[in-house]
């Protein structure tokens, strides 16, 4: 997983950026509203076709490959706004996450593992996903994405619209997932939390990467502090 490069036009939401995520890394991409973060993620995950540039994954060119093919290669996306199947139960949502797999015994084991990681979901396994709280839905979205056994997980704004306490829990689980060996690219507006969680970070502004580097260094960067940490 190296050498991710996206550049594409149209309305030029993303104006040519270089981005790299190494295996086992936990990387944050931060920036304000409309900076092009989600667009970048959509291009990476095959939901949008980049106008120019290329995306490489595990040494293979995956530029503009449709999303469903990337899932089979171990690249999963937790979409913005969670996108759980609201009218299905928690259990059915998890089953849907394992859509590409047919090893039933392993799927069942992974489901139990997901319930162990997210005990709240285990309590609500028969409940409709739409009736869960925002935080629980986010947990479900992450758990569901993990059901396809991804090597790289793309997370789009997991803290969006959640209470600060819930956000803490979500980030804890993100760290837990990272410790289990899944590579993560995290998109966040909550710059402080994202940089505290991740090893490396990118700062995006109006479709361009303006800063990149070690997360700790970015946290101390005066420019980042002023623009994103409110100091």
């Amino acid at each position: 997983m190296r050498g991710l490069k996206v550049a594409y036009g149209g309305i030029n939401a993303v104006k040519g950026i270089d981005l790299e995520v190494g295996a086992g890394e936990l990387v944050a991409l931060i920036g304000a509203n409309g900076a092009g973060k989600t667009t970048t993620l959509k291009a990476l995950s095959g939901l949008l076709k980049p106008a120019a540039g290329s995306v490489r994954y595990s040494g293979e060119d995956i530029t503009a490959k449709p999303a469903f093919e990337l899932v089979r290669r171990g690249l999963a996306l937790v979409p913005e706004g969670r996108g759980v199947f609201a009218r299905l139960t928690v259990e059915e949502n998890l089953a849907m996450g394992a859509y590409i797999r047919d090893d039933h015994a392993a799927i069942a084991a992974d489901r139990e593992h997901a319930y162990a990681t997210f005990p709240r979901l285990a309590e609500r396994r028969a409940q409709l996903a739409g009736t869960l709280s925002g935080g629980e839905q986010q947990m479900l979205a992450i758990a569901r994405a993990l059901m396809c056994k991804p090597r790289l997980l793309l997370l789009d704004e997991p803290s969006m619209g959640l209470a600060p306490l819930v956000v803490q829990t979500i980030f804890e689980t993100i760290r837990k997932v990272a410790r289990e060996g899944v590579t993560l690219l995290l998109i966040e507006q909550n710059a402080r939390l994202a940089l505290q969680t991740c090893g490396r970070g990118y700062v995006m502004e109006s479709g361009l990467i303006t800063l990149a580097g070690d997360a700790r260094a970015l946290l101390d960067d005066p420019q980042v502090r002023r623009a994103y940490l409110g100091e």
């Binding site: 469903f68 009218r87 849907m96 409709l128 739409g130």
Partner: protein, 358 residues
């Protein structure tokens, strides 16, 4: 435990046996009690069951609102009629034509599906509505410069179903039992309907069925699950159209005459009503909806003579009464059973969770 399971399978076998006997006896019992016209109504009801089940795949399973569904019925019917009538002088075998009609309809299903892949909801409904009209208008006008469909006159003298030299148009006498054409057609239709129900049921519980549910619920999330949304949607259109095409072929041979008049927007809406009233997404509900909506309007015909006998005159014309009752039924259904008479599990849950305080 084992004996309980054995008992269960035994009682299930018994149940199936009873159903099989009832379905076999049905046309003869109805013939003897209600008259032959009702056997014919049952035949038509079976055609509509197949149609409704086909539309249910598109609308109920995959959540793609299709208002031009009758077009596939038309395609199937015309495919059969053109190749089994004096119109072109071709008289192909039923056993070839039925799968052929289904295949042609499936191709039209993909033809409709491909350009509408990005559309959802209202927009998809409008395009499908237009598609249905385009097919009908084509059928109406394809008599010039070359006469393909014979235009508004339609196609007459369509061959009855013939299996192995045995024409269903003949009346048979088997040990005191009179088997009229309507009876023979009943059994052919019943077999096809059971086949369609079986396929639908298997599809519903398959990976494809789950993919349809995922698309219906959230298309973006579905593709993030690794579902090829394009192919799965096209498959929904193709499968729905296939059932429509089979039903259409059977309809053409049953009626012996078809014209573009039989495939109007109102017919599309009627099939949609069967799906919605019966219980969108649930096979049993859709079958129930199709049978009720075919049979009830026919039953209302009796209202004319009844009024004559009790009131001395016909106050409300039965045909007016039909639309009146139909509208009333729709309104009452939406008020009291919005998920349909026999709703699917998901729909029932969804409406149950919308109660206040939740």
């Amino acid at each position: 435990m084992k004996s309980v399971a054995k008992n269960l399978t035994l009682s299930r076998t018994l149940l199936y046996a009873v159903i099989a006997i009832a379905l076999t006896a049905l046309p003869f019992v109805v013939d003897a009690t209600l008259g032959r016209a009702w056997v014919r109504i049952i035949d038509v009801a079976l055609l509509f069951v197949m149609l409704a089940l086909g539309l249910n795949i598109v609308v109920g399973f995959a959540g793609l609102l299709d208002l031009g569904y009758i077009a596939f019925f038309a395609v199937g019917a015309y495919a059969y009629a053109l190749l089994a009538s004096p119109h072109f002088g071709i008289h192909a075998s039923f056993l070839v034509l039925l799968p052929l009609g289904a295949l042609v309809a499936a191709a039209f299903g993909i033809l409709l599906g491909a350009p509408t892949l990005r559309l959802r909801g209202d927009y998809l409904a409008i395009v499908t509505l237009g598609f249905g009209e385009i097919i009908r208008i084509f059928l109406n006008n394809l008599n010039r410069p070359f006469n393909i469909t014979n235009g508004p006159q339609g196609i007459t003298l369509i061959d009855p179903i013939q299996i192995g030299g045995l024409s269903l148009a003949k009346t048979f006498h088997v040990s005191g039992l009179t088997i009229a054409p309507v009876h023979s057609y009943y059994f052919v239709f019943l077999l096809c309907t059971l086949g369609v129900i079986f396929v639908t049921h298997r599809l519903e519980n398959s990976r494809i069925g789950r993919a349809w549910v995922a698309i219906r619920e959230d298309e973006l999330a579905a593709s993030a699950m690794g579902i090829n949304t394009r192919n799965v949607k096209l498959l929904a259109f193709a499968m729905g159209a296939t059932f429509g095409g089979i039903s259409g072929g059977l309809f053409a041979s049953f009626q012996g005459f078809i014209s573009p008049e039989s495939f109007t927007l109102l017919d599309s809406i009627m099939v949609l009503c069967m799906v919605v009233l019966g219980g969108m997404g649930n096979v049993g509900g859709v079958v129930l909806g199709a049978i009720l909506l075919t049979a009830l309007p026919e039953a209302l015909r009796y209202m004319g003579p009844l009024q004559q006998r009790w009131l001395g005159q016909v106050i409300i014309d039965p045909s007016d009464l039909r639309m009146l009752m139909f509208g009333l039924a729709l309104v009452l259904m939406m008020l009291f059973r919005p998920a349909g008479l026999w709703p699917s599990k998901t729909r029932r849950r969804e409406l149950a969770t919308e109660k206040p305080g939740d």
